[in-house]
């Protein structure tokens, strides 16, 4: 990682004057949404061939800055100079033509278009011929050139996994041969090999003189790829750093504005091995799952690792009854199970935090309180304000214990930031007599502080005797927080790691099919 060096991160609000040869010069950028000040006086510069990181918590304004650079949002004030041209007209088309492309955090691919259409249609006028065959052939060549042989250009994007969609999105941004590439949380759904792929592409581009603005939460990635960086906090520049001259703790305290000494909470004590298991399943079979055996005891945190698309999502869905599944022997909370539905799973004490909080997790138009209560709504019970009133002590307890930053239970869930939305999806299962909670990568794309708060909440949950099954794409989380980790490979358990053997290398090794590495 980085070389610790006292005072290496320069914590100062005013940016140094931009060197004259800088390709991108951002000065005094401001964006207000009504009374909300998303970005306030942000300045930085980026040279050709340089990777400039933008870091900060969610809501710190880095996505807004990225969107202004890409032309998706027009700035309230300030200037974006790009190779002598002034950007910031709020037109994506103008930015693209000036040589700026962006892979957006909220994936900007059209689901019903094929991969080939998504790759080829953004360029050119609407009134021109379009040939599926030619587009597919061109897309094939492009994907091969970018080492994405496994993606079929003729399938519609909705049929791809989240990780593959993100790869296509990045490929589209690269394909336009940009002078400035903006990667807005572009690695959030990628497993380690995907991240390595991304870094290879970034190095190719920077070698050709392309500047890259890299927005990310993952500090280990920054250590590897970022030449320089700007830390944002509450829409302002909190500090700057350069390669090798920072430590994780310094950066985190800059981002959070407080001393944050460690990433992970202490693991809770190992649960008693003789307690009757909460979940016991033998030879579980479901689409994508090919004979999995699992036993989880009360208070145990079982990690699920592996590369994207090796059955982790399917495993969690099957265990929650959201996908059809059968097993030779299946007990949940002391009940024998032949077929499971989500309704029955909840009744037997299970809870589930799904992959996509916006699509599967929340009703974005409904209130914070109603979203917390959604598994507990009765068809013929109170609703609206009377219900929220009768449940107000539980709601405020959950909001407080997870430190959800909201204006109250009546605020629209869609108005919260990503990390706080994720806390709602998680929070509905806390303090509700759960026996088993299934988590699908709950920390994807949320900021460092929210992550730590979620880790604490998970550990607290297990301390109360709740069993947790936690799939994560971040190996560090599995290694540091879980008692035991199973690694899936092609729908089967490739390895089970515990105690001494539970190391990051072993998890990654098992994920790519190498067993017994230490």
């Amino acid at each position: 990682m980085s070389i610790p060096q006292q005072g290496g991160a320069v914590a100062q609000a005013a940016a140094p004057p931009a060197p004259p040869e800088a390709l991108l010069v951002v000065r005094g950028l401001v964006k207000h949404y009504g009374p909300v000040r998303a970005v306030e006086d942000v300045s930085f510069s980026c040279q050709a061939g340089e990777v400039h990181a933008l870091v900060g918590e969610n809501g710190a304004g880095k996505s807004t800055v990225a969107k202004m650079l890409a032309g998706a949002v027009s700035p309230t004030a300030g200037s974006i100079g790009f190779g002598g041209v002034e950007l910031g007209s709020g037109s994506i088309r103008d930015s693209r033509q000036a040589g700026v492309t962006c892979a957006f955090q909220e994936l900007a691919l059209v689901p019903e278009w094929t991969v080939a259409e998504n790759l080829s249609l953004p360029d050119g006028a609407p009134l021109r011929g379009f040939s599926q065959k030619k587009a597919t052939r061109a897309a094939r060549a492009l994907l091969d050139r970018l080492e994405l042989e496994h993606i079929d250009p003729s399938v519609p994007v909705y049929s791809l996994s989240l990780a593959d969609r993100q790869l296509v999105e990045i490929a589209r941004a690269i394909a336009a041969d940009p002078q400035l590439l903006i990667l807005d949380e572009a690695s959030s759904a990628l497993a380690p090999p995907g991240v390595e792929w991304l870094f290879r592409r970034i190095r190719e581009l920077t070698a050709r003189g392309t500047a890259v603005v890299y927005v990310s939460h993952r500090l280990s990635e920054l250590a590897e790829i970022a030449d320089r960086g700007t830390v944002l906090r509450d829409g302002k520049v909190a500090g700057e750093f350069r390669r090798g001259a920072w430590t994780d703790d310094q950066l985190i305290s800059l981002m959070a504005g407080r001393e944050a000494s460690r990433h992970f909470p202490e693991s809770p004590p190992t649960p008693a091995a003789d307690a009757p298991p909460v979940l016991e399943v033998k030879n579980l079979v479901s689409p994508g799952i090919d004979g999995v055996d699992l036993t989880v005891r009360p208070g145990e945190i079982l990690g699920v690792g592996g590369l994207q698309g090796h059955g982790q999502a399917e495993l969690l869905r099957a265990l929650y009854g959201a996908a059809p599944a059968v097993a030779d022997h299946w007990h949940l909370g002391g009940h024998r199970i032949k077929r499971l539905t989500p309704v029955r799973a909840v009744r037997l004490g299970a809870g589930y935090v799904p992959e996509d909080r916006k699509r599967e997790g929340l009703a974005l138009q409904m209130s914070v309180g109603e979203n917390l209560l959604s598994p507990w709504l009765k068809a013929f019970g109170l609703g609206g304000r009377p219900l929220l009133g009768s449940q107000s002590s539980w709601i405020s307890g959950v909001l407080r214990s997870l430190s959800v930053r909201t204006r109250g239970p009546l605020e629209r869930a869609g108005a919260l930031s990503g990390g706080n939305q994720q806390k709602l999806v998680f929070g509905r299962w806390t303090d509700r007599d759960r026996r088993l909670v299934l988590l699908h990568d709950p920390t994807r794309g949320i900021d460092v502080r929210a992550k730590q708060e979620l880790y604490d909440a998970i550990v607290r949950l297990s301390g109360l005797g709740v069993a947790v099954i936690w799939f994560s794409t971040e190996v560090e989380e599995l290694v540091h927080v879980c008692h035991r980790v199973v690694v899936l490979y092609r729908g089967k358990i490739a390895d089970e790691l515990e105690g001494e053997r539970l190391t990051a290398d072993a998890v990654v090794g098992a994920a790519v099919g190498v067993k017994g590495r230490r």
Binding site: G71, A72, S91, I92, R93, S95, R96, F104, E106, L107, A108, L109, V110, P111, E112, W113, E117, N118, L121, P122, G124, A125, P126, L127, R128, G129, F130, S131, Q132, S154, P156, Y158, R172, V285, S286, P287, P324, A325, V326
Partner: protein, 337 residues
């Protein structure tokens, strides 16, 4: 998205996975196309007379205006909207055309009729795309406005449609080939080329699938929406003109029954009402099926009140069978695995 990876025994796997067939499956058109084939066979069995020159001609004159209205509705549905003013636009272009025929030469009258539809489409499209209003509200309002203007233009059936024009739109091109089908085929092929073989057409599909993504790709999403409404207006106007030709009159109420039928045909065609998915051939054949239900009942000796019940059952079963089939397939596969 369809009952995809299942191979029905009769069709070979290669045909099932051929690129053009794949597009049909993806656009949900397999069910309506098969439904039409079954319906057609049943129809010919009950009433073999359909295959005579006279009946072919009347049947196509009945079906073609509905097919054009359904295509117009399909385009709006593709961009994620719904058009309540389709019947009104059809009546409007119908009366404008019939009135213009009294004094103007045919090409100018045609232009007037098509122009009427285009203006209506642009009006709806501007309010939806640039006014950011919901399509259902805009088109409901414009349905009333356009309906009133039509009655102002012509308050009772009439107009100057000539018998020559009847022959040109509703006669026979060749023996056994009704000219109405010929015009429908030309419109359908041009529309297919536009939607599948130009970037604009793909934009129209993309806008319905995810307007934000299209915008984020640096494309003009609102422009594509407006173009879709304008295009729909033109095609619906052609439907109104064909209707004027086959009835030899202009009538300010003539388009009204086509509103619900056009929505039913689009639903039967397996299009997605959230936008982004729908097939031209599926829509045309769905319109043919629904348009001929009434005739079939007449020849089968069933009271024509039952026409709507039968049409409803066709829609529900054709839309529902793939869903049921997929569920059974998954259950069977789950047990087998």
């Amino acid at each position: 998205m369809t009952a995809s990876s299942v191979t029905p025994g009769l069709l070979g796997r290669r045909l099932w996975n051929a690129p053009s067939f794949l597009r049909l499956r993806r656009e949900g058109a397999v069910a309506p196309v098969s439904a039409f084939l079954v319906f057609f066979v049943v129809y010919v069995i009950i009433n073999p007379e359909l295959l005579t020159r006279f009946q072919l001609q009347t049947a196509s004159n009945l079906v073609v205006p509905l097919a054009l209205a359904a295509l117009g509705q399909l385009i709006i549905v593709l961009v994620g909207g719904i058009d309540i003013s389709i019947g009104a636009i059809m009546s409007f272009s119908n009366v404008v055309f019939a009135t213009a025929m009294v004094s103007l030469p045919v090409p100018l009258a045609l232009l007037a009729g098509i122009g009427a539809g285009l203006i209506c489409g642009l009006f709806n499209g501007a309010l939806v795309a640039y006014g950011k209003l919901p399509a259902i509200a805009v088109t409901l309002a414009s349905a009333f406005i356009i309906g009133s203007i039509s009655r102002e233009v012509m308050d009772r059936p009439g107009g100057g449609i000539t018998p020559e024009f009847y022959l040109a739109t509703s006669g026979e091109l060749l023996p056994y080939v009704p000219v109405a089908l010929f015009w429908l085929a030309i419109v359908a092929v041009l529309l297919w080329l536009l939607l599948q073989r130009t970037a604009l057409g793909r934009h129209i599909y993309g806008v319905g699938s995810s307007a934000d993504s299209v915008r984020a790709a640096g494309l003009n999403a609102r422009g594509a929406q407006l173009a879709a409404f304008a295009l729909s207006g033109v095609i619906v106007a052609l439907g109104g003109i064909m209707l004027a030709g086959s009835t030899i009159t202009g009538d300010p109420r003539s388009g009204d029954p086509y509103l619900l039928s056009s929505i039913a045909a689009v639903a039967l065609a397996g299009a997605s009402f959230t936008g982004g998915r729908g097939s031209i051939i599926g829509t045309i054949l769905a319109a043919c099926t629904l348009g001929l239900v009434g005739n079939l009942l007449f020849f089968a000796g069933i009271n024509s009140y039952w026409q709507y019940v039968i049409a409803a059952l066709i829609v529900i079963s054709v839309v529902g069978l793939p869903v049921l089939w997929r569920r059974i397939y998954q259950a069977v596969r789950g047990v087998r695995a």
